[in-house]
Structures are given as C-alpha cells and as structure tokens.
C-alpha cells in the first residue's frame, strides 16, 4: 500500500512540479485577495432594489414613478407581490428607526420605558432551594432602587438564594446590558456552521484531486497494470492515503486553531464518506464527463446530508445522526452521549466500508467500460454477494443507505400538501427499499437468496428501531410492528426473485407496487 502511496506522491510531484505549484499558490493568493476585497468593500448587491414614491434615505431604495410601495401621510400602500411586501417591511423598519431617534432626542430615557437583559440558562441545571429557605418578600424587600438602574435578576436571585450552576455574566454591567425590547437579538447559528465548513472545505479540494487522478489512471488503464502487482485494497488505499492525510492535517490545523484538539475526529467520517463515494463513482463511470457530473451530484448530496441536520441540531433528535451536529456540540463544550456518537459513526463508517468494498469489486473492465448504471450495480452485486449469508449481511448493512435516502425523501415530501405527504413518503420508501433488495436478489435470483435478503433487511430495520433512530417516523416505516414488515420484505423479495427472468424493470415495478400498496393499506387500516 505504501508503495502505491509513494507512486501517487511522485505522480503528484511530477504533475505539480515547481512551476505548477507556484501557479497554484499564485491562484490561491489571487483567490484569497478577491475574497478579502469583497469583505473590505462590503455588500452592495441590494442597492436600489426597492422603489418608493418618496425619497427614502436608504441605500436599498430609489424613487420611481412606478414604485413598489407608496407612502401617503401615515398610510403605506402595498401590492400583493413579494417585492412590494419585502419593500414595505424594509421601509417600515427604517421609519421605526427614524422615529426612535426622534423620540430619544426629545424624551431621553423615557423614550424606552422598558429595558431588557437576556440570560441564557439550561433549565435542567437550575437547582431550587428547599421551601423553608425561601424568605418572604416582607422579610427582604426588593432592592432595585440603586443608582445604576440595578439588575433585577441579581436582586431577585439574592432574595430566593437560587443556586444556578451556570455563571450569569450579564448582570456585571447593568448600565449597558439593558437594551430596549426592539433591540433583542436572537442567537445566530451562522458562526457555528462556518466553523463546521472550515473542517470540511479543504477536503473537497483533496478529494477532487484524488478522484481526478483515479479517473485518469482508470481511463489510461494504469489501474489494470498496477493490479497485476498489488491487491485491490492496497491499490485504492495507497492512492488515497496522501490525500486523506492532507485532509486530516487540514482538519487538525482547524482543531488546533480553535483550541478544540479532538474536534478533527468528527470530520473523519464525512471526509471518508466523500473519498469512498468518489472512489465508487469513478469506478462505475465510463468517462471524465460522466465522472464529473456524478461526482458533482454525490458531493452536493453528501454536503446536504452532513450539514442540513446540523442546522436543526437542537430541534430534531434525528439530527444527531450527522457527525457535523456532534462536532458543533463538542466545540461548544457540551456533553456528548456515547450512544449518539456510536450511532453516527457506525452509520457513516458502514456506508464508507460498503462503498470502498463495492468500489474495489467494480475495479473490473466489464463494469468499467460498459452497460447501464443499474446493470453495473447488479454486476457489482454478483461479484460481491457470493453466498446467501453474504446477501443477509449486505442487506443488513445496506439499511444505512436506505436510511440516508429515506431522510432525503422526508425532506422532499415536506413541501407537498399535507394529504399527499404520507402516500408520497410511503412510495419513496417502497422505491428505495425494493431497489436495494432488488440489486442484492438479482445477484442470484433464487428463493433462498430472496428470503436471506429479506431477513437481513428486516434485521437492519429493527436495529434502527431498537436505537430509536426512526422513532419520529416509525409510522412510515411500520416500525411498531414485528411480523408485518418481515412478511412484506419476504413477499417482495420473493417477487423480485421469481420475476427476475422477465426483466429487472418489471420485477422491480411489481415489487415496488406491492410494497407501496401493502404499506398504504397497513398504515390506513392499522395505525
């Protein structure tokens, strides 16, 4: 493996010799300068995007004869268009600010008769004193009348002697910490997401160079030559090693910069998933063009899959399946549950393992240079699923992919009208699960293979239910039943095996229809 890695580094050096390296450094410097210039010069893309009938002292507004909003006396007239409503909101905000300045000058402190200070506390960490310790209000009168304006919380907590573990820092500067209610800022999550991207972005470049190099070696048939001297795993991992180390180093550098030394570990599953999926895609692609587009699609999907859950990190428990959510929690200094860590890492590493495994099996001229994608998948399955027990194990592990695709399905059906959501989700589930089972069953379409595949898939589903991963969506996955899903999986897998002779398309269509109708009937009748 190290020999191949050495070869890859030599190849890299040759390609990116002093001249190329200088050019890349120069390009990177130009890019950084361009980015920095945009930061320095600020944002002005919204200049004059709205229009009004009067002169508004706002950069975003211009006067027009056909304005988006019309202001007459104390009435603001809008049209029922998105632009007009957006302009009205922006103008209202501006007018409120102008009014505020005016009353502040005229009435001073009284312009804001309410002042607010926000304290963030974890409710579970609040310890209340025993009932008897609570002094009555007559015993200790509230002492809010100090000259600085006082901190209500400071005084009231003193009265109740509440033991709050978290340090309350906001009452340190009472003069400045109290603001008008209109100025309350809700916490922004952007900074955390930028941090998460810092860990992964350099890996995108490393993965891109890796997949380009692999595609070139594959298309120039160098891989076939190398295969005669080394094993498939040594070949793939040897080629991958320099790029993976580069990604790891960049993530480590970000960890050190943030003073959160182990944070880079959370980036590893995502980075490895990118490498494994790129390896697989390169192996099944016939040309640069095909590889480029498929890589673009899968990279985007993985980015969405890893990062979108982090947006909803504290709102949806399912979001902990993404290592990025856990990375952000770790950086924040919050505790991580071992079960969440295990589930997330096992889920990602299972996909990584399978993609590398299938990628290596696909390192075969028959698969590389011909046939449709589905045919290629069946061919890879034929090479990988060598026994009925292997079918059971692969079906069991493939639940990770089913889970990923079904999560995307949930995202997509989320936008449909409510009455269509459940049928659409059930149909998506049927398509995904039957496609996966189909690819495994078609490797050797016998009844025994079908039953083993169905049982493997069923066990995988039950594991997810056991760990409560699919708790929220168990209706769609019929999670609360034990025997019904097993009957369903066996019935559809047997259908796939029996109908395989009549063509994969027909077999899949029939199994999907059966699965969807069955799910819909069970959901409607029993749930």
């Amino acid at each position: 493996m190290l020999k191949v890695a050495e070869f890859e580094i030599r190849k890299l050096r040759k390609r990116y010799g002093t001249g190329s390296l200088l050019l890349i450094i120069l390009t990177a410097a130009v890019s950084v300068s361009l980015g920095y210039a945009s930061v320095l010069s600020g944002i002005d893309s919204d200049r004059g995007i709205y229009s009004a009938n009067i002169d508004v002292s706002l950069e975003t507004f211009e006067t027009s004869d056909n304005p988006d909003v019309v202001l007459v006396d104390s009435k603001l007239f809008v049209e029922q268009s998105d632009k007009s409503l957006a302009a009205a909101e922006e103008l209202l905000k501006h007018l409120k600010e102008e009014h505020r300045r005016k009353i502040e000058n005229e009435f001073g402190e009284l312009a804001h008769p309410v002042k607010v200070s926000v304290v963030y506390l974890d409710p579970s960490k609040i310890t209340l004193p025993e009932e008897k310790e609570k002094p009555s209000e007559t015993e200790v009168p509230p002492s809010v009348g100090n000259e600085t304006g006082g901190s209500a919380l400071k005084n009231t907590t003193a009265v109740t002697t509440m033991a709050v573990e978290k340090t309350i820092t906001l009452s340190k500067a009472p003069n400045t910490s109290y603001i008008p209610p209109g100025d309350i800022q809700t916490p922004s999550l952007v900074d955390r997401m930028v941090l998460a991207f810092l860990f992964i972005i350099p890996s995108y470049f490393a993965v891109q160079v890796f997949s380009s190099s692999l595609t070139e070696d594959k298309l120039l048939r160098r891989l076939e030559v190398l295969l005669s001297a080394t094993s498939r795993s040594d070949l793939i991992f040897g080629k991958l090693l320099p790029y993976f180390l580069l990604s790891l180093l960049s993530a480590l550098a970000v960890s050190v910069y943030l003073g959160s030394f182990l944070a880079f570990l959370f980036a590893i599953p995502v980075v490895l998933l990118l490498f494994s999926v790129h390896t697989f895609v390169v192996m099944i692609s016939r040309s640069y063009r095909e590889a480029t587009f498929l890589l673009l699609v899968v990279s985007l999907l993985i980015t969405i899959y890893a990062f979108i859950p982090a947006v909803f990190s504290t709102a949806i428990p399912l979001s902990k399946i993404s290592p990025i959510t856990l990375l952000l929690t770790y950086i924040q200094g919050d505790e991580l549950a071992v079960i969440d860590l295990a589930l997330s890492f096992v889920h990602y590493f299972t996909m990584v393992f399978m993609l590398f495994y299938f990628g290596m099996k696909a390192l075969n001229p028959d698969i590389s240079y011909g046939k449709e994608i589905f045919q290629k998948l069946v061919e890879i399955s034929r090479l990988s699923v060598t026994s009925d027990y292997a079918a059971l194990i692969i079906a069991f592990l493939s639940i990770s992919f089913a889970f990923m695709v079904e999560l995307f399905a949930i995202l997509v059906v989320f936008i449909l009208p409510q009455q269509l959501m459940i049928p659409a989700l059930l149909l998506c589930v049927a398509v995904v699960e039957e496609l996966i089972k189909g690819v495994i069953v078609f490797s050797h379409p016998t009844l025994k293979r079908a039953v083993f595949t169905a049982v493997g898939f069923f066990l995988g589903e039950k594991i997810l239910i056991l760990f409560n991963v699919l708790k929220e969506y168990s209706i769609a996955f019929l999670g609360q039943f034990l025997v019904l899903p097993l009957i369903l999986h066996i019935a559809t897998a047997v259908t796939l095996a029996v109908m395989a002779k009549k063509g994969y398309g027909k077999a899949l269509g029939f199994a999907i229809a059966l699965h969807a109708v069955y799910d819909y009937a069970v959901v409607m009748l029993l749930v």
């Binding site: 890019s31 809008v78 905000k93 607010v116 200070s117 209000e137 006082g150 809700t186 587009f293 709102a315």
Partner: protein, 332 residues
C-alpha cells in the same frame, strides 16, 4: 464542425450527464423551501416567528396574566411548563426586565421572538401613559389593512440576490467543467491528433468544443428559470436575466477552454479553475456591478447598470470568440 458539436452533445445525453444535472436541479428546486427555510433560520432566527406557541411567567411588575412568585416561576421554567421567565423591576418609571430563556439556540430564538413582541407592546403601552408618541403607521393593500409577514425582505433578498446568482454561477461552472473535460480528454487520449488529421481546421475544432457547453447551459438556464417560475418566484425580466446569465457562461467557458489548452491535463485545469471560482465567488454574489447579481436583479425587476451589463456581455462573447486564437488546440 457541427459533427463534433453533435458528437459532444450526443455523448453528453448518452452518458446521462444531462439527466443527472436535470435531476440535481429538480432536487435542489424540490427541497429549495427546506434549504431556504434552513438558511434563513441560520441567518435570522426571528423568521421562525412561532409567536403563539411560547409560554412565559412574569415575576414582579405584572403586565400580563401569567404572574407568579419567583420560586414558582423558576420551578415552571425548570419543568418546561413555561419557556421563559420575565423578572420585572421598576426604577423611576423605567421597567427593567431580566428575560431568562433556555440556552438551546432554536428554542431561545423561538421564545425571544415572542418575548420581543410582548415587551414591545408593553413598551408602547407605557409610552402612551408617559406621553411619548408611538409611530402610527398602517399598511394597506387597496382599501384593506394588512400585516406584513415577518422576514419578507430577508426571503426576497435571499431568493433574488443569493439563490439566483448562485444558480447562474453554477450553470457557468458546469459548462466550464464540461469544456475542460472535453478538451483535456481529446488531448490526454491523443484523439486530438486524429481530429487534426481530418479536413477540420484547429479553429473549427476549438469552436465546436465550446459550442456544446454553450448549448447545454442555455437549455439549463432556461430550465431553472422555468422551475423558479413554477415555484411561484416572479421572474420580471426573463430575457435579460437569461442573456446576462449566458454571458457569464461565455466568460467561464472561455477561461475553462484557455486553461484546458494551456495545461493539457484535466486535473490541473480543474483545480486552478476551482480555486479561482471559489475565490471570486464572494465578489460575484455581493457586488452591485457583478453580472451574477445583475441576473438576480433583472429577475427581481430591479434596476441594473445596463452599460456595465452590455460591456461585460460583449467582452465575454468576444473573449469566447478569440480564445481559439489565444490558445491554439493544434499547438498542444
């Protein structure tokens, strides 16, 4: 020459590239509401605006119905039966309020939106009492009084000033990626030598190499404009948006072609092109004079600097036309 264009386009369709890109765009358009919601939530959690769903307990000066003593209020907060505790104290007529909210960001954003509205109303009531004027401004649509949905401006700017410019840039990047692949493939597999031995001139080969991505991206641009319109995003000036978007593609395709011919290998050309695009992306989506922003502004029906747009378009297509002379495909 058209044979090469036809071959490139045919290859594209046969290799399912077109299908994958269409699927990608449909997918992005399909989940755009989720992505938009998520991104706006990141940028401006106020947008959540679940005003009705929060419960608060007030301690001290009681200005709403849910008033408690401190211990009960904190107990309710600890047990999750209230989402926030407001401890109100009076000092010379000014009400000082300590707002205790959960440290969970999403929950805090949701509760604070409600608390902000509640306390603003309280403030307005007190101003009336103290004789401080409030801003009296009502919004009408025709003769009907209406309320402006919170976050309208953020959503509008996100769609027209971020999403549409990004779609335009992505289309151009994909087209440039295609020209890099297509040229480098001919060079690296040496099939360029075979092509050069045919009656086709090097200029015709180069032009055909840049024509297919241009045709492809014009179809793609039309498709995403149509998809946006189907998603009820008003496209005020589709022709202008299309024309400027195509000039961005022309510029990127020229750059891609020049790099592909100069470097002769896909890896270096793609890497340097990617670094340059990544660096210029912030400028492309933040500046008034950026062509990508102009695509969004044209779609929004906002004013654009037509002189800059015209100069950029002419320059881009001129560069596209002369790039086969700058980097000659037969001199590789």
């Amino acid at each position: 020459m058209f044979e090469i264009v036809k071959k490139d386009l045919k290859l594209m369709f046969r290799e399912r590239t077109f299908v994958s890109i269409v699927l990608l765009i449909v997918f992005v358009a399909g989940i755009s509401s989720v992505v938009t919601f998520g991104l706006i939530l990141l940028y401006n959690p106020d947008y959540l605006g679940f005003y009705g769903s929060s419960k608060v307990a007030v301690v001290g000066e009681c200005f709403i119905e849910s008033c408690y003593d401190e211990r009960t209020a904190m107990k309710l907060f600890k047990s999750g039966r209230v989402d926030a505790v407001l401890i109100v104290s009076d000092f010379n007529g000014i009400k000082y309020v300590d707002v205790i909210v959960p440290d969970d960001e999403i929950k805090a954003a949701q509760v604070l939106s409600y608390v902000k509205k509640l306390l603003t109303e309280y403030e307005e009531g007190l101003r009336d009492v103290y004789g401080v004027p409030n801003l009296e401004l009502k919004v009408y649509s025709g003769s009907r009084e209406v309320e402006i949905p919170s976050g309208s401006s953020t959503v509008f700017k996100f769609i027209y000033l971020i999403l549409i410019p990004l779609l335009s840039i992505t289309t151009a990047v994909v087209a440039a990626g295609m020209v890099i692949d297509s040229v480098c493939e001919e060079i690296q597999s040496r099939s360029i030598e075979v092509l050069l031995s045919t009656p086709l001139t090097p200029f015709k080969i180069s032009i055909s190499k840049i024509t297919s991505p241009m045709i492809f991206s014009s179809l793609l641009t039309a498709l995403w404009l149509l998809l946006l319109a189907l998603n009820k995003v008003d496209i005020a000036n589709p022709l202008l948006a299309f024309a400027i978007s195509m000039s961005i593609t022309a510029f990127f395709v020229s750059l891609g072609y020049l790099m592909a011919v100069r470097f002769g290998d896909r890896e270096r050309a793609q890497l340097i092109f990617s670094i340059l695009v990544a660096g210029s992306l912030p400028l492309l989506v933040t500046k008034y004079a950026s062509p990508a922003v102009m695509v969004g502004r044209a779609a929004a029906g906002a004013e654009i600097d037509l002189t800059i747009a015209a100069i950029f378009s002419v320059a881009s297509f001129a560069l596209l036309a002369v790039s086969p002379f700058i980097a000659k495909i037969d001199k590789v």
